[in-house]
């Protein structure tokens, strides 16, 4: 890491190389409850550049899933706005792909039919998307599994199917909500490597939610550190480690420095996995 990079990073406003794909401006969300309003998100401000991988990191209850739901158009913001490719996100849109915590596959559809679900829903050409699906399944190492059913696959394989499904309609942005949280630690590492490989090949713009600091540092170009009650962005930490990053990058000084810097935000709060 160069010293100039460090200075730019410390300012916390590393301008993305190209125009932002996503711009979130002064976004807030509050809920009315029986005990009065609860502020889930407060004054969230960030941008994500074309082809950038951003991790949203925070403990449970910091509002990161709420933020993802707003970005996916499933919830509306109370104040501020989220803009995707120049238009405000006001509801579900067709240029977003979402990967949820669980694979959320339809057991009555084959792997291939699950993958082309977005194309079916949005009435895009089925034949063309079938071909694309086969290519993407091959990319994630699931060639030959297209006619299997989800319940015949392992958890890691199911989550790969979900990733392919989120990519099939060529979305402008890929939202991932703790996609590997339900997997065992070993599978999770493999999936992180796999995701990095896919991302290097496809260069999608990714917003990746996680509560694991090493996972965020390993995958992201920038880590948006969120603190809870109300959900705020405490710091934006750039990760300047060359790609492709092998798993043992986790033992390097640069990696450790980023992890320590992020963890400092939580040492007073606790409740975060390392």
């Amino acid at each position: 890491m160069t010293s100039t990079g460090r200075v730019a990073a410390d300012e916390g406003r590393v301008a993305p190389v190209s125009a932002p794909v996503i711009a979130v401006r002064r976004l807030g969300k509050s809920y009315e409850t029986a005990r009065g309003p609860v502020v889930a998100l407060d004054n969230i401000d960030f941008t994500v550049g074309e082809g950038e991988f951003v991790a949203l990191l925070g403990p449970s209850g910091c509002g990161k899933s709420t933020l993802l739901k707003i970005l996916a158009g499933l919830l509306s913001a109370s104040s501020g706005e989220a803009v995707l490719r120049g238009t405000v996100i006001a509801g579900p849109r067709r240029d977003i792909g979402v990967v949820f915590q669980s694979p959320v596959l339809f057991p009555w559809r084959t792997v291939l039919a699950n993958v082309v679900l977005p194309a079916d829903v949005q009435r895009l050409g089925r034949e063309q998307h079938r071909r694309l699906a086969m290519e993407l399944l091959d990319l994630v190492g699931l060639a030959g599994f297209e006619h299997r059913y989800p319940w015949e696959l392992s958890g890691g394989m199911q989550q790969r199917v979900a990733m392919v499904r989120a990519l099939i309609h060529d979305p402008a942005m890929l939202l991932m909500d703790e996609p590997f949280g339900a997997l065992d630690a070993m599978t999770r590492e493999q999936m992180n490597l796999e995701l990095q490989r896919i991302w290097l090949e496809r260069r999608k713009t990714v917003v990746f939610i996680t509560h694991s600091i090493p996972e965020a540092v390993f995958l992201a170009d920038r880590v948006l550190v969120m603190t809870p009650r109300p959900g705020r962005i405490a710091e934006i930490v750039p990760v300047e480690i060359a790609r492709p990053r092998p798993l043992d990058v986790m033992n390097t000084e640069a990696f450790g420095a980023s992890v320590r810097r992020i963890r400092a935000h939580f040492s007073a709060h606790g409740g975060l996995d390392a």
Binding site: A72, G73, V98, F100, V104, F106, P107, V121, H169
Partner: protein
Amino acid sequence: MTVSRKSLLRLCLIVASLLVWEAAVRLFAVPVFILPAPSSIAMALYRGTVSSLYIDNLGVTLVETVLGFAAGTSLAFILGVAVALSRRTEYYLYPYIVMFQSLPKVALAPLIIVWFGLGLTSKVINAALIAFFPLMVNTIVGLRSADEDRINLMRSLDASEWQIFWMLRLPSALPFIMAGLQVAMIFSLIGAIVAEFVGATSGLGMLIQSLNFNADIAGVFSILIILSVLGLILNQIISVVRRRVLFWDPSEKAAADVTKGGMP
């Protein structure tokens, strides 16, 4: 013990119990109008079958049952969908649903005979009425059971409510709907028989009544055998359909036969 030896033993037990029954009836000279011997039942079954009396009446009951099943379950499905998808429909239909659900539907059979006569119509209506509730309730519960994450996924893809219904809610409801259909099938048979008891000119229920009246208890037993075979076949048909439709449902392999509890 191997499977073939087990099934052989089971068969031996059945034969032995029939022999004991036969011997007991002969030994203690039980009057035939109280408990007929298996041989007399077999004779009655044979005579009724070759004279086409049983076949004709079986045909009548089968038509009533199948038509009642089709009418009752179609209506139940349509109303179930309407209630599950629209809170307003639910609000207005709710009092009727609650009232009818707690009513033993067989108690309506005399009224239905008065209103619709001794012919086919009253039997079909009675069968339909009894088949209706298990399917409607299961359709409502099934359609509302769709997984929240899957609904969110469909919404995030900008799916219409119509697409969410066809691509997600309906398939998710199928395990419940198939279970409802299985119960409804047997319930339709009960509905048809009960209506025949109350007033009919043909059908197996009517035949039981008239044989009973003539103290032909062996005849009554032979009809009971036909009815239980009929129930078994109808149930098997739905079971086969169910297994084919729900090949993806993990609970299907372990699913208990819903009709095992017997008939009301």
